[in-house]
Symmetry: C3
Subunit: 134 residues, 3 copies
């Protein structure tokens, strides 16, 4: 087992941040197995998406429909609608597992690993990576 | 590898049940690795949420919006709207993986592991835990 | 660790395809551990559902409500509403982990492993299976 933590900056705005290259670099030390990607945060999630062709913006925009930033939420700390950020991880899990072949992520051609973060109050995020050799 | 099953009672009402302390106790036997948390049920899911500050109630309430308990569902056994319970696991997966460091769950400060159960017909639930050492 | 790839045909229509028996066959070579099920595709996901009692159709129909196939999406290649297919994996993850006991999937009585594929432009899908012994 190998493990590390990445520090990322989601910029203080609704963000879909591609971390594929950083996860790939961690895995490139070699071996077959599984990599666990884990966000130790209660207001963000992880997804596998095509990036750079509109879908990252589509997801960020659609989250406003699925989890409206209005006054329905009982959790009311922080920015308006912040209660939605706390429900997000139930739908977009902060835990993801990806196979690794000889140090290479076994992603499909159009898959990128992204952090989905609608919480504009906390731009500093940690991503925990754990490689379990097979 | 170590494994166990927890028995929990979700009380026969829509429930977001915090199981963090019981998962932590299982992991406390020591070791670095990953813990797989798995629900062998077709009408409940698992999530990582902040609990005790409104978000657990927010999630339970919002599921009525995302998966309305009306007559749209073809699956019609049990209570009114029960078809929604059977679609829930597609959106809130019954499988979750969390890193473990020297017997301690590597959760963020505000993360708790919860069972999300909208099925009021079955309060008796099993949670399967599997620790894979690194 | 053992690994394989399944080839499946989702038929060129919105599909919820049960792959349980093929995953079970892979696991039946024996051993305790975890099986990782992974779709290397950007427009499909995996779920654990009861099949054959309406819920597979319920899910397929409800995805039209949660991810409407209209002109809201910036990603506009392919069929009308195809942008929705690219957002689907954020909500229905293409990665799933299931415990295995002595070569048998530790699923609940009503759980089946399904591929959820709303993308009618690509019926040829690969499912990557990885068994990690405990």
């Amino acid at each position: 087992m190998r493990t590390t933590e990445l520090e990322i900056d989601t910029g203080g705005e609704v963000a879909v941040v591609d971390i594929t290259s950083r996860v790939a670099e961690f895995c490139s030390e070699g071996g077959d197995g599984l990599v666990s990607i884990f966000l130790p945060h209660a207001t963000a999630g992880l997804a596998l998406l095509e990036t750079g062709a509109g879908s990252d913006d589509d997801l960020a925009a659609h989250l406003d429909t699925v989890l409206p930033r209005d006054d329905r939420w009982r959790h009311r700390h922080g920015s308006a609608g912040h209660g939605a950020d706390h429900v997000l991880p139930a739908f977009i899990s902060p835990s993801l597992t990806v196979p690794v072949d000889d140090g290479v992520l076994a992603l499909g051609t159009w898959q990128s690993i992204v952090v989905v973060d609608t919480n504009t109050d906390n731009p500093d995020r940690t991503v925990r990576l754990t490689f379990l050799a097979g």
